[in-house]
Symmetry: C2
Subunit: 134 residues, 2 copies
DNA sequence: TGTAAAATCAGACTAAAGTATGAGGGCCGG
DNA sequence: CCGGCCCTCATACTTTAGTCTGATTTTACA
């Protein structure tokens, strides 16, 4: 029985040798094709942009020249305004700028007038809004 | 001459019929393989992530509770501090909160003590730094 | 229920801040 | 060279801010 079966197989293989050969070639080259496709195909590139919140990197202050000229605030007055914003008293500002208290009072009064306010806290607040100080 | 060439070709084709056949099969199935690969394989996706710096859009203010408890500033005192930062005088703050001027003076004095400052401008400046007010 | 913190207010005082007015000197452009 | 602006300073005065002391009431909490 075994022998018979084997003979049958042998016959089949021999008589269909070409077809088997062709099939093997087909199989091998199909695999080759798949492999080629995988190797050669360019990957699709998907670009994902991620918005990253940067915690206020640039404290870069740019003076608002327009507002400055519109208010008519002078260089010295702006200096006083900056120190004022730093929380200094008129006395301390005077010492810092090597001038008298009277001078600072005059300057600050002028600043208040030009900014249309009546208190230093308001002046600082408005000056910041206008971009006159950081 | 032409005839000779043709004969030569013919001979070549016939004698190598099998190889040509095999080659064609190989070619066809290579293409099939490529096609299969294209159809069946998931498309390769290469994900490129790009970090994009965005300059903090939201000026959303979040109160710094830590600093608040550390300084020991009470709710009412914080209210006064906020109005103070708005440039209001003690008189105006008193009117706004329906209390007397004395009360506001007491509150502000307490705030100055807790923030370790001596002037309202300094208090406002420091409070902003600490995240107590916007 | 006692108490500690918070909120309220007052009076008195000191210290700043702000206003008003005037004035002198420096600098610049018409 | 003069008028206008800026910077400076002073004096006098008013207003606001800030300190200190002391007190009452409310609220929250153990």
């Amino acid at each position: 029985m075994f022998f018979m079966k084997w003979l049958e197989w042998r016959f089949l293989i021999i008589s269909h040798a070409f077809e088997i050969y062709a099939g093997m070639i087909a199989a091998v080259f199909t695999v080759l094709g798949i492999w080629l496709a995988q190797k050669l195909s360019k990957p699709k590139i998907k670009v994902v942009t991620i918005e990253k919140e940067s915690p206020v990197i640039g404290p870069e202050f740019i003076l608002n020249e327009r507002a400055l000229s519109e208010t008519g605030i002078s260089a010295r007055e702006l200096e006083v305004l900056e120190l004022m914003a730093g929380g200094l008293s008129n006395q301390e500002i005077a010492a810092r700028l090597f001038v008298s208290l009277s001078t600072i009072k005059t300057h600050s009064s002028n600043v208040f007038f030009k900014l249309e306010v009546q208190r230093r806290t308001q002046a600082v607040e408005k000056a910041k809004r206008l971009g006159l100080i950081p």
